[in-house]
């Protein structure tokens, strides 16, 4: 038997096994789903009907989809197939992988090459990543940079990631209109699963980000790490602090309650006191002379699009410059 025949035999064996596993899983799944549908005791409506006075009432075959039931997790069946596929699918994949590995070692008469090494080889053959990546990863970090006050900037960056993730989660449910903003926050707090937790994290990470950003700036200032050749590091960092404050200022209006409304009124009033450009800035921020629905829309756009894009740009610049110049040696 030559190598090609052996290979094709081996390949067809793998295909048959994989399709067999998929077929068995699908059959089991379909059977489970149909039995769940056919079983009348699993439907809550029929339970109510049997205990009620009219026992002859025919139960509704399929209920209307209910958004709040889905969000609060009353539709338990939604997660069941996913969980089943995850558990049995993992076992199936491990099983298939084991057969593939044994069979390929047997057919090729060569030691097994780990999958990670194969992926790295595949990428390296095409894009020659290994050498530059090794250079990036093995860059020495000075030991003095292992004190706790050197990680304040990193914590700020991580909190930004937390803010991005929780902010996207909140944006799924938030509605930036004067009529619906307040109600949508209430919906997040009361109806959405983990909604109040996500909102709490978003709020407190914002405060933490401002504190950490300021602390990082003070550390850099005291140690004189802003001096030449690191002027642009300081400049980009100062812009990032301003952007963080813009995040806080615009995000504060979004709940559209009394505190938010009047804090924004006061804040934009301060901007309006600047000579020459004040009135223009005030009108541009409020979209008019008063804080209104248009202000809410503008702040929402600034909060979720403009400021994040600018922040990511400046953060990348900040990080690249730090990599190029290294951490400043303390005196």
């Amino acid at each position: 038997m030559n190598n090609n025949v052996r290979k094709s035999l081996f390949f067809s064996l793998v295909v048959v096994l994989v399709s067999g596993v998929i077929l068995v899983a699908m059959t089991l799944h379909a059977r489970a789903m149909t039995s769940a549908d056919a079983d009348p005791s699993s439907l809550p409506s029929t339970k109510a009907a049997t205990t009620g006075s009219t026992s002859l009432e025919v139960p509704p075959p399929k209920q209307e989809p209910c958004l709040s039931c889905h969000i609060s997790g009353q539709d338990k069946n939604l997660w069941t197939p996913v969980g089943r596929w995850a558990i049995f699918g993992t076992f199936g994949l491990i099983f298939v992988f084991g057969i593939y590995r044994s069979a390929s070692v047997w057919t090729q008469r060569k030691p097994w090459v780990p999958l990670t090494a194969r992926v790295v080889d595949w990428l390296d053959k095409r894009y020659t990543l290994r050498e530059p990546m090794a250079k990036v990863l093995s860059k020495p970090v000075p030991k003095f940079a292992l004190r706790w006050w050197y990680c304040l900037g990193g914590i700020t960056a991580f909190l930004f990631v937390v803010q991005a993730i929780t902010g996207i989660m909140l944006a799924f449910y938030y509605k930036p209109t004067a009529a619906e903003a307040y109600a949508s926050i209430q919906f997040i707090e009361t109806q959405v699963r983990f909604g109040s937790a996500i909102r709490m994290i978003h709020s407190w990470s914002a405060n933490g980000m401002i504190i950490m950003c300021t602390a990082h700036m003070l550390r850099v200032f005291i140690m004189g790490a802003y001096k030449a050749p690191r002027e642009l590091n300081w400049l980009s960092g100062a812009f990032l602090l301003v952007l963080t404050l813009v995040f806080g200022f615009t995000g504060y209006l979004l709940p559209w309650d009394q505190r938010a409304y009047w804090a924004t009124t006061v804040g934009t009033d301060i901007a309006g006191a600047v000579p020459a450009v004040g009135s223009l800035v005030l009108v541009m921020l409020r979209v008019g002379w008063d804080v209104s629905e248009a202000t809410l829309g503008r702040f929402y756009g600034l909060h979720i699009i403009v400021t994040p894009l600018l922040t990511v740009t400046f953060m990348l610049a900040h990080f690249i410059m730090i990599r190029r110049l290294g951490v400043k040696k303390p005196l």
């Binding site: 990863l137 707090e189 996500i198 933490g208 004189g224 400049l235 009394q258």
Partner: protein, 141 residues
């Protein structure tokens, strides 16, 4: 791969895996804090005040806590400073201060010394104490 300079080897660690591992521990710590806040949020939601009403001005209007010190400064500035309108003077002074901070590396171009560092630390400590005092004053007033 790793640096071959023995002197460099002695006072530095490789970025990967040693430094990445330390960063990872810090991230785990912050994650724990974040999850604690999430649990607090489920137990006691942040809540909302009454819906926004442009006709109903509350008794004490306050900005966010990180603008409180600034707000307090503008609130208690005398109406006339050096012949200029008080609030305008305050806002311009703050703007100039921010500009000075942003462009500080281009203003302070001397070689760094231990003495300069000590002076900077003292200035920062006094500044932070004033800032915290102003914030607390704004919070309780």
């Amino acid at each position: 791969m790793a640096s071959t300079n023995p002197e460099q080897e002695k006072d530095s660690i490789p970025f990967y895996p040693d430094h990445v591992r330390t960063e990872f521990y810090v991230v785990i710590g912050i994650m724990v804090l974040v999850i604690i806040f999430g649990i607090l949020g489920t137990l006691h939601p942040l809540g909302l005040q009454a819906p926004a009403d442009s006709l109903d001005t509350p008794l004490h209007v306050k900005p966010e806590w990180y603008f409180l010190a600034l707000y307090q400064l503008l609130k208690y500035i005398p109406p006339q400073v050096l012949g200029i309108d008080g609030p305008v003077f305050g806002v311009v002074a703050i703007l100039l201060f921010v500009l000075a901070v942003v462009f500080w590396p281009f203003l302070d171009i001397k070689e760094d010394t231990k003495k300069a560092m000590r002076i900077r630390s003292i200035v920062i400590i006094i500044g932070v104490i004033i800032l915290i005092a102003m914030t607390i004053w704004g919070e309780v007033s």
